[in-house]
């Protein structure tokens, strides 16, 4: 009897772990089947090479490039903010700061990642954009710049915390050897510690990029809804995620071609983040340096 109970419990536990597998399967199946339906009506070549995205207009064009461009533009701005800041903070906390200071600052910075993203959207639209407009007079009310900058601040803790963990995992003996050779803290940090922790730092950056690509509410509120093939951040643009929100909020009839665009946009987004996640996972497994 006891044995049977043990077996039953184990089976239940396995079943629960399988829920995660079914989730992935579900995502892939839903996106794939709906996209297949979409690509029966729209040429896949047009989709990936077209430079106009107007599925909701009378004259429909289905080129995803403007959405991809908008997504990459905000992501690049966000990483340009978060990478230097996050890495510098990680090095400072690990190499310079008093451990008590680190113990206080690290969780405080992580609050940045806990704030709901719609709040950042509010902040970008009602505070950062007007502030920037006083420096850049022809900045559009909705723009990639302000959304990207605020998103960059949001993902600082992704880079700073994970990189700090990676730096902390480097054995003390390496740092002491560098000090023993007469290095300053700066030299120790950039010539010994950062290279030794490089795989962990790269993983943190990739995860941050993936997070920025999938971020929705900041760009939906502050970056606009105009698919535009531009790298100029002062204009209103549209990201893949914003487009999905736009269709979901609108009154587009279900089962229409217009509606099925959210699946083709969704699969594009999914492929981007899937590749990034797997690259980071691979690096983590493969290049993690083992120290005795």
């Amino acid at each position: 009897m006891l044995k049977f109970k043990e077996k039953a419990i184990e089976s239940f536990l396995i079943l629960c772990s399988l829920v995660t597998v079914f989730t992935t399967l579900g995502i892939v199946l839903v996106l794939a089947t709906e996209s297949v339906r979409f690509f029966q009506e729209v040429s896949i070549v047009e989709f990936f090479t077209g430079t106009e995205w107007t599925p909701l207009f009378a004259e429909k064009r289905f080129g995803i490039l403007p959405l991809v461009c908008g997504t990459l533009l905000t992501t690049v701005i966000a990483i340009a903010v978060a990478l230097p800041l996050g890495l510098t903070i990680a090095i400072y906390l690990n190499e310079y700061a008093h451990p008590k200071f680190t113990a206080f600052v690290k969780p405080t910075l992580e609050v940045l990642a806990a704030v709901p993203t719609v709040v950042y959207g509010f902040f970008a639209l009602t505070f950062v954009t007007p502030l920037l407009q006083s420096f850049i007079p022809n900045l559009s009310g909705f723009n990639a710049l302000s959304a990207g900058l605020v998103m960059g601040v949001m993902i600082i803790p992704y880079i700073s915390s994970l990189s700090e963990d990676a730096l902390r995992a480097v054995p003390k003996s390496l740092r002491e050897a560098a000090y023993g050779m007469g290095s300053t803290r700066l030299q120790t940090a950039f010539r010994v510690m950062v290279p030794a922790a490089s795989s962990g730092i790269i993983v943190s950056v990739i995860l941050a990029i993936s997070r920025a690509i999938g971020e929705t509410m900041i760009v939906a509120v502050a970056a606009g809804q105009e698919p535009r093939l531009t790298l100029n951040p002062i204009h209103s643009i549209e990201t893949i995620t914003t487009y999905i929100v736009q269709v979901s909020m609108g009154d587009v009839p279900r089962n229409s071609l217009e509606y099925s665009t959210i699946f083709s946009a969704g699969i594009t987004l999914f492929i981007f983040t899937f590749i990034l996640n797997n690259v980071s996972f691979f690096i983590k497994k493969k290049f993690q340096q083992k120290y005795e």
Binding site: K5, E6, E10, L13, I14, C16, S17, L18, V19, T20, V21, T23, T24, G26, I27, V30, L31, P84, L85, T88, I89, I91, L93, Y96, V105, L109, V111, L112, A114, V115, P116, V119, Y120, G121, F122, F123, L125, T126, V153, P157, T184, L186, Q187, A189, S210, R211, G214, T216, A220, V221, I244, V245, S248, M249, I262, G266, F270, T273, N277, F281
Partner: protein, 285 residues
């Protein structure tokens, strides 16, 4: 000036730059809070919390959005917590080092990185259309459950991993079975860590907007939901709607609703920190 002095100056320069960077993040957080509170605090009163949504900014409230949020959260916890904990227990205690466990691990790491809006698309099709649950509270809760499962699983595993082997062996030595050991020894010791993970997952669910928009959660809900099959809205969607309206009064409303939302988020994170520190003090292995 010799090279040693130059290096010292460089070192000092970087240190100052790093201090500025560290405080910059904190300053932005402070400015954000100041902007929100200075705009919204005066708008919060009992009427704002107990009023139904309205076309006029001055009489609109967050009553239905609050109730929708509580409904969603309670259901999400009921669905996600047992499944997440069970999966975490399986992977940490039962899973052998083989391709199957490895596959599930890679899979969970992947799921944790899937954008939340993609979960919305899954929920829309799977729960909304295939299971026919429409844009109900249940669809929302199921969708968010899948979204926070990886968080609960990973934190459960971490908590269980921290329980020392000697405790398990003592239990086995007394003749306990595997499950008896897990339920009577391992889980009670790991309770604090598991709870911390659950609360952080709830905090994440509170802040989610995009997946609920995609499954078709409404913006204007003039009634309080009474069952899991009712249509709903949540606080974040209400905020999104108000932010995107051009009239000035709605921006004030948005700021006020954000204060309420942040109270929930910070409260959850505070509780998590508290449990973690109390629990760490109480149990020393």
């Amino acid at each position: 000036m010799n090279s040693s002095q130059i290096n010292k100056i460089k070192n000092l320069g970087f240190k100052s730059f790093a201090i500025v960077c560290t405080f910059l993040g904190l300053v932005v957080l402070a400015v954000l809070l100041y902007v929100v509170f200075s705009q919204g605090l005066s708008r919060i009163d009992w009427d704002f919390i107990t009023s139904l949504p309205s076309r006029r900014a001055s009489s609109a409230g967050i009553y239905t959005a609050l109730f929708g949020m509580v409904w969603i959260l309670v259901l999400t916890v009921i669905i996600a917590f047992p499944i997440g904990m069970a999966a975490g227990i399986y992977l940490q205690e039962y899973g052998k080092k083989n391709w199957f466990t490895n596959f599930i691990e890679v899979n969970i790491a992947n799921l944790a990185g899937v954008p939340s809006i993609i979960y919305g698309i899954l929920g829309l099709e799977l729960f909304g259309r295939v299971l026919g649950l429409g844009n109900s509270i249940l669809t929302g809760a199921l969708t968010l459950s899948l979204l926070i499962l990886p968080i609960i699983i990973v934190s459960t595993r971490e908590a269980i991993k921290a329980v020392p082997k000697s405790l398990r062996e003592a239990s086995y030595g007394l003749g306990a079975t595997k499950w008896q050991t897990i339920s009577n020894v391992v889980l009670p010791s790991a309770f604090g860590g598991i709870m911390t993970g659950l609360i952080l997952a709830i905090s994440r669910a509170i802040g989610e907007t995009a997946p609920l928009i995609v499954i078709g959660a409404l913006v204007y809900v003039p009634f309080v939901p009474e069952g899991p099959m009712d249509e709903f809205t949540v606080l974040t969607i209400q905020i999104f709607n108000w932010v995107t309206r051009p009239q000035a009064g709605f921006v004030t409303n948005a700021a006020a609703a954000i204060i309420i939302l942040l109270m929930f988020t910070f409260m959850m994170n505070g509780i998590a920190v508290l449990i973690r520190s109390r629990y760490n003090k109480k149990t020393k292995f």
